[in-house]
């Protein structure tokens, strides 16, 4: 008949723990999957970009080759001019004549050589032809040197400073061509300070190299052929120097990390007319997606490298990569959406699992409640059966006895016996009904204590005075061992019930002529009220049934007294309500001691 207990609360915390477990798993899964999605997105994005870049790189390589083809043709055309001229008969005649002059001519001062050459009609005629070729084909300068490096014909022969007759035997292109090979050289012109290409060709005769024909071309003519705009094209020589470019700002600068060599300070000054090495702002990116990826001025470019026909020259074609980088945010957005989807799925699964856990929990709680209700129902039926028995029996006796008194006159003595029985029986029934009401109040949880300050000793003695006639009728002595003036905050009428029940039980189950000892002690903020009898004792097996309603045990009252089986149940609940506890000691040889320990004040223990 008790309340359902706190089982459902324990189950709730078990459910909470289970739900926490589910949320943890869901949370960790979300974190793991989101991290994996993030890493996967970055990786996949890079792979996609790398593939796009690889395609771009192929396109760029094709473009670079096309541009290199144009440059190669231009260089070939430049190289072909001296080749064609070197077999010119008129030039041969002029070369033969001046070569024949040998040391005498080459040792003359420059002005005398210049004057003599300008007065040579053959030189003038040929120089005029060179001028026409130069104008027609838009070259910078065409000239020829004799075998000692003296410029004997030149397309600019009639200029103020035509430099006709100057000695150029120290030039690389001259030295190279005098060995019988085609020569070429890049240099910053000493006269015009403009970077130029020289292409030379030997004038070969049976007797050996009779002289060298040279064409000089302004770098800009080559540079203008190179792709510009968003792209950058660089022609780089063996020293890693940019000799021609679509971007003038990179002219005569070093390509730095892309070059295998670098010019020494002397070469830098003499050939490139540079005081110091200025690198093109090019560097490897931190995380290149392609082997050809480089940063130029901080922007990513794909660099295609093509070897030119002119030995030691390379063409570098730089195409920008900005457009590829721009798709990354899109990739990240897709990745974020995928992660979001994962989170939503995880939330859904979490909710599903939580619902299942909750349903299972509720099923368990319902089953447990059902069990408790069934038990409570059984207890209630037992209770009703006992009440019916314990109330109906005496009632039917009382009815029968009174009916007999009504129907026929009785002897005065018998009438007295009948009335006495009816009185005692109805008195016992009243006690039973009172106890039942107490149990009903206590078990419905409506036991509200009204704690007030009481003198415990006076209280106990008052109750024992009421019980003394009962004890005297059985020749039982009740001794009280209690210090004077012990006070406690308790519910007086309720605690009276505790004293009444324990002491009257002791008297009830004690053999005649024995002693019931009542004692009161206090320590640690509690008082201890104990009742010791010399009755038969309570077997170990019956002790846990002691406080159950209507539980009559094997011991019988020694004076034929009635027992409702409710007294100890009521005592236990009143003591519990006071925050105390009840203990029982009983030896196998008999004698039982009930001890009630209760805090002196509310919340005092």
């Amino acid at each position: 008949m008790g309340p359902p207990g706190n089982g459902p609360h324990e189950n709730t915390s078990a459910l909470d723990a289970e739900l926490r477990g589910i949320h943890w798993i869901a949370g960790i899964s979300v974190v793991v999957v989101v991290l994996a999605t993030g890493a996967g997105t970055l990786w996949l994005s890079d792979r996609i970009l790398a593939r796009q870049i690889a395609e771009t790189a192929e396109d760029a390589q094709r473009d670079a080759k096309a541009i290199a083809g144009i440059v190669d043709r231009t260089f070939q055309e430049l190289a072909s001019i001296p080749q064609v001229l070197s077999s010119n008969r008129d030039l041969h005649v002029i070369m033969d004549r001046y070569n024949a002059l040998e040391q005498g001519f080459s040792r003359l001062p420059d002005e005398q050589r210049n004057r003599r050459l300008k007065n040579d009609p053959q030189v003038v005629r040929f120089s005029q032809r060179l001028t026409q070729i130069r104008n027609k084909l838009n070259y910078d300068l065409i000239y020829a040197l004799d075998s000692r490096g003296v410029r004997v014909v030149s397309s600019d022969w009639d200029h103020e400073a035509s430099l006709l007759g100057t000695r150029l035997d120290d030039r690389e292109y001259f030295k190279e061509a005098m060995t019988g090979a085609e020569g070429h050289q890049f240099a910053v012109s000493r006269t015009t300070k403009v970077p130029v290409f020289f292409f030379s060709s030997p004038i070969e005769k049976e007797t050996g190299v009779a002289g060298v024909v040279v064409v000089r071309q302004d770098i800009d003519v080559v540079g203008s052929l190179l792709a510009g705009g968003r792209h950058a094209t660089l022609i780089v020589d063996s020293q890693g120097m940019v000799v021609a470019t679509s971007r003038r700002e990179y002219g005569l600068r070093h390509v730095g990390p892309m070059a295998a060599a670098r010019p020494d300070a002397d070469t830098l000054r003499t050939v490139y007319a540079q005081e110091r090495l200025r690198p093109v702002p090019i560097e490897r990116p931190a995380r290149p997606l392609h082997e050809a990826e480089w940063n130029l001025n901080g922007h990513p470019y794909l660099v295609s490298k093509v070897r030119l026909h002119v030995s030691d020259y390379h063409l570098l074609f730089l195409s920008p990569l900005e457009r590829s980088e721009a798709v990354k945010p899109l990739h990240y957005l897709i990745g974020a959406l995928a992660a979001l989807l994962v989170v939503l799925i995880a939330l859904q699964l979490d909710r599903g699992a939580s619902n299942i856990a909750r349903r299972n929990h509720h099923a368990r709680v319902t089953a447990s409640l059902n069990e408790k209700l069934t038990a409570a129902d059984k207890e209630k039926n037992r209770f009703l059966g006992i009440v019916a028995h314990d109330l109906r029996n005496p009632l039917s006796s009382m009815r029968g006895l009174s009916q007999m008194m009504i129907e026929a006159p009785l002897e005065p003595e018998q009438q007295r016996e009948f009335l006495d029985t009816i009185y005692r029986t109805s008195d016992e029934m009243l006690g039973l009904v009172n106890d039942l009401l107490d149990v009903a109040v206590i078990e419905s949880g409506r036991l509200a204590l009204n704690r007030t300050d009481h003198d415990l000793v006076k209280m106990i003695q008052r109750r024992i005075r009421h019980l003394e006639p009962h004890a005297r009728s059985k020749q039982i002595a009740v001794s009280v061992d209690a210090p004077d003036g012990q006070r406690a905050s308790i519910d007086g009428p309720r605690f009276n019930q505790v004293v009444d029940n324990l002491v009257s039980n002791a008297i009830k189950f004690s053999p005649p002529g024995s002693v019931v000892r009542v004692a009161l002690q206090s320590h640690d903020g509690s008082f201890n009220f104990s009742v010791q009898d010399q009755g038969p004792g309570i077997p170990e097996s019956e002790r846990k049934l002691l406080y159950r309603s209507f539980q009559k045990l094997s011991a019988r009252p020694t004076g034929g007294e009635k027992s409702t089986g409710l007294g100890l149940a009521i005592v236990k609940r009143i003591v519990d309500a006071h925050g105390g506890r009840i203990d029982v000691e009983s030896g196998p040889t008999g004698g039982t001691r009930f001890a009630v320990t209760v805090p002196l004040a509310q919340g005092g223990s």
């Binding site: 109906r392 006796s397 029968g400 006895l401 018998q414 016996e417 029985t421 005692r424 029986t425 019988r556």
Partner: protein, 134 residues
Amino acid sequence: MAEKRKVRVLLADDEAHVRLFVKAVVGSMGCQVVAEAADGKQALELFDKTQPDLVLLDINMPVMDGITALTELRRRSKKVAIVMLTSLASADVVEQCLAAGANYHLRKDLPLNELKQEIKDTWLAHMQDLRSGT
């Protein structure tokens, strides 16, 4: 039945008020209560001592319950009439009592005249049985 000699009755019930009432009832019927027992064990002792004709036996008693006492009494005597006194007898318990040799069962809460009639009928039926030798 009262002409020859009074029917001698043993009454066993743990409740004093029941004993007083039943004693008065059977007394008013001209029977003599020769012994009163408060439990089954006491009933067996008093049976041996008084050899009654009729035993009125309560079922719920301490020390030894009525059904145990019934079995024991039947073992000692086939002739004695035994009537079980019940208050809330279930069919099971009644069945058990009859199987153990009880002549009849009586509900203690019956009205007075019915109670008398039932005891009388049971006794007459018992006498009939004894005479016909069954």
